[in-house]
Symmetry: C2
Subunit: 307 residues, 2 copies
């Protein structure tokens, strides 16, 4: 799956991923009205509204982008109905041949991580039958519990040729509170980065590892160091756009081959129609606004990085 | 809710929580057969089997214990159907007046943590209506992203009078890989513990904070230090029993008032009927075996801790 991701990034010359994080406030009124009319102002209504919203964005952008990254929290907040919308979103994106990165940030003790891995990137046995529950291609993993919380994901991914992105340095303002603390003179995120390189050696694709890393766009100096520590690691970079990361700051996340990083934008793409630059599309044209925002983003990153 | 938890622990003199982590292999054949007959060897069949299994254990133990802790990964691995079983398990436990600790180990950047919080311990608005999606009383939270990943949970919990347990020192063998690394001569888990104390001051119950901590039973010396760092923090202690933690080692997790810690056992209780000590109950008597194992555990902890 890392080979497919790298292949699509090369073909499209577009190292981007669209974050499908549909807050209900991002969903145009006409979609909500339709869903509420059919299902009421219920969790089911909300879940159907966000799924329809996603579908429009996928339809309008799938030929430009290699991947989407649904943030599961935005679905989980609607309970079981939200999880159904998550699953439908994953399936729909895959039907359009997009690589799907489930932003789930799971991580637990060994046997529990194994259960998460099975549920999201693996298969589960029920009696004599086998099922693929959520079926993402990659998931994000939290490393706080150490190797035995991460390795079960890798074990499952070896079987299914899928992958993970391990949180190394996150994009949020307080990420430094623990991640930047110095251990023998070096920040924790570097220690985690070294571990991710090690994890990655155990499950290599053709050019890059099936084990990637998450490093926020908001910390480019750290991105530069982490790029060197993890040369064969794909870096998933959140924080571009709405969170403040600039294209000009993204070059250090890439290798000299022009590969090695994939930049995420969520709100900036899916709620583009609410921004002044894309207001002309109107609510009805929200998906076209997202397409225009994707085109701008790809161009911005190509120029900023020099691709 | 922390007051309710402390009240129940006092009344029952039982600082224990039963971990409802139902692997399919723990479920007796007669329950699986019934579920598979009704729903087929499907995810729905598996989910129904684990829910029926849980129900039996809750019915057999609810008068002895203050709380249950369903591990969501064990449900999530069955996809959407598993999440339905999780929700039904939470609701059923609450109908028996048990405190429910959702072991979800979520944590993300601010707005995303807020969504998890809303979904699990909060309420969500859909149009003019409000819903309570998963409705646990407490959830476990991963601190790797720092304060702005934890505070949204606390904000939501302030409104709903619910609480969280933040991972400080986990019970697994490799937990030390990052958690034990020294920062200015002190391990990371102590730094996190101090932060948890601070978080806790922002949302206090009568005697203890709504913000608890997770500290594994497998590291009693560390438990002793963390107890001192976080005097008003309830400590959720996994790792007793199957993972190797002994009752004699648990005293340091408690305060002098005999409170401040709640010990979890999962496999040791829910799969008791598979152990030599409880084999006499047979598969049909699995729930009675769980009750006997709970009685043994409570007695063992009372003696070990001196309650």
């Amino acid at each position: 799956m890392i080979n497919k991701l790298v292949g699509k990034i090369k073909k499209l010359n577009a190292p981007v991923v669209v974050g499908l994080d549909p807050k209900l406030e991002f969903v145009p009124e006409f979609i909500k009205e339709k869903a509420f009319k059919e299902y009421g102002e219920t969790l089911e209504g909300a879940a159907n509204a966000i799924y329809e919203f996603n579908k429009g964005i996928i339809d309008a952008t799938y030929d430009l982008i290699p991947a989407v990254k649904p943030q599961i929290a935005m679905y989980e907040q609607f309970g079981v109905e939200g999880m159904i919308a998550f699953k439908k979103t994953v399936d729909y994106a895959k039907s359009k041949d997009l690589v799907v990165i489930g932003d789930i940030k799971r991580g637990d003790i060994g046997s529990t991580s194994a259960a998460y891995a099975v549920g999201h990137v693996g298969k589960i046995k029920v009696g004599s039958k086998e099922y693929v529950p959520f079926n993402e291609d990659f998931v994000t993993v939290n490393p706080y519990l150490g190797s035995d919380g991460v390795n079960p994901f890798i074990d499952v991914c070896k079987e299914t040729k899928k992958g993970i992105f391990v949180l190394v340095k996150t994009s949020n303002p307080s990420s430094g509170e623990f991640q930047d603390r110095l251990i023998d003179g070096r920040p924790l995120y570097e220690i985690v980065g070294e571990k991710v390189r090690e994890f990655g050696e155990a499950h290599m694709g053709d050019e890059y590892s099936y084990v990637g890393a998450v490093v926020g766009a908001t910390y480019p100096e750290m991105g530069k160091i982490l790029r060197k520590i993890m040369p064969k690691t794909y870096i998933l970079v959140p924080g571009y756009g709405a969170q403040g990361g600039k294209a000009a700051d993204l070059a250090p996340y890439f290798n000299e081959d022009g590969l090695g990083a994939i930049i995420n934008s969520s709100r900036g793409i899916i709620a583009a129609y609410k921004q002044d630059d894309y207001k002309k599309f109107g609510e009805e044209g929200y998906a076209d606004a997202s397409r225009a925002a994707v085109e701008f983003m790809i161009d911005d990153i190509r120029k900023g990085v020099g691709l």
